[in-house]
Symmetry: C2
Subunit: 267 residues, 2 copies
Amino acid sequence: MFSIGELSKLTQLSVKTLRFYHEEGLLVPAFVDPDSGYRYYDESHLETARVIVYLRSLEFPLSEIKELLRSEGEGDLLTILERQQSAVKERIKQLRKAAKSLQQFISEEREAQTMAQNVDNVQERLLEPVLVGSIRVKGRYSDCGRLFGRLGRAFGRAIGGCPMLLHYDHEYHEDDADYEACMPLRRKQEADGIAVRELPGGRCVSLVHRGPYDQLGRAYAKVFEYMKQRKYQPLTPSREVYLKGPGMIFKGNPKNYLTEIQVLVEE
Amino acid sequence: MFSIGELSKLTQLSVKTLRFYHEEGLLVPAFVDPDSGYRYYDESHLETARVIVYLRSLEFPLSEIKELLRSEGEGDLLTILERQQSAVKERIKQLRKAAKSLQQFISEEREAQTMAQNVDNVQERLLEPVLVGSIRVKGRYSDCGRLFGRLGRAFGRAIGGCPMLLHYDHEYHEDDADYEACMPLRRKQEADGIAVRELPGGRCVSLVHRGPYDQLGRAYAKVFEYMKQRKYQPLTPSREVYLKGPGMIFKGNPKNYLTEIQVLVEE
DNA sequence: GCTTGACTCTCCCGTTACTGGAGGCCTTAA
DNA sequence: TTAAGGCCTCCAGTAACGGGAGAGTCAAGC
């Protein structure tokens, strides 16, 4: 006969758990001292406890384990096992989806962090061509949120990068700016009324700006200053890539927004 | 402004859940009517609710979501994401292990079921050679449980089939039977004092017996009757395979025990 | 026989993320 | 005026335990 503490050591189940299993009728002691209330177990309980541990490791709920122990594996064990397996697999599927989303979130964050290292440094980069879904309009910049919303809904999981704006104007326009909202895509996908095309790659001058959007002007000044010094010929449209801004999950603090300005140059 | 029911429809969160989130400080309504206690939400709450749903889909606990919402993704988001990812992956690992064990359990059960279809039918089969760990002794059959226990502990996860006994005696011995307890192995594995070898394959006469072990005599009678009629020469040792017996998880009912008798014959 | 320390008991609460129900108030339409 | 539906609070329950309080029990040593 084992005391509850002894059984606990033998089975790796805590004393609390054993008491709980007693209460639940899963593992009823061989003998309970009516005076002291002490529980005493024997060999067969050791065995049963091991079975319970095993079934728990298969993620069976205690209620099922109770039934399984009662029927001693007679009923349609196979059905029960299959049901349990599909439940486990279902849960795995769900978790894998979460892990995948987390992975993507993490890599986006990592990318933002690496980009943040170059804040305010004018750089020359080689851009790869990139497939985008885009909507071009004339109007106010403040409407671009709606456009990105439409693009987001239209392409969903096909989206493969940060949103960007293309500016076709040569000088600043307040109310009738000519711009195009773009979302990079992983794969070609139809969407009603939204153009899908490839933005060309090439050599560009780039600068990562940290801060609210109303201070982007200074960043542009730097970029154009740099190009002027080197007599680079800027190509239209210029691009603004929203590396980290509001609306990708968190609003965040405008002081930490990251925006990359890219201006392709003639070779 | 939305009522709680409207927000519920817009976010797919139940009214109960929204109230709960209010109570928890996760999603506090914009305005609570002091007379009626009615909760009213606005656009920003719609957005926040979506973020919560998203973070829940990443399996974040509410407490973390609360902090994330408070800090608005400022703190070291990356660390939090990575921690969460490793937690999710850990859980996936655990579940996969369970799924694997379930799979094995299921295929064992399936095999037992297919074998059960041939109960009491004498058959001729071609046996594959099989790698086993084995202990040969002279003594009582009732000791074989201990031997299987030793084999089980010695080989653990390397075990790849049902336990079996080889009988070397030509007639029945009570106290000094010459027999060998075997466990099929997936791979060669050393174990102190336990022989690992390959049992030969070949043509055999087989019969699946359902019922307690003390009725195995009838099954043997059938097998040997069959061989006698056809003038087959039995080879020693004969084999008893415990397809379904006590001790593989459930004790089960002896009336449903399945044991296969295999006697190799000279070609 | 007494004390001490380890062991055990019961009872209750807390965890997580909700769901369900009772009983009652508010609003609106028929 | 009544009915329906929406909303409120409060309480309880879920799964599988863990923590802790306060009290009783067991075995050993003095």
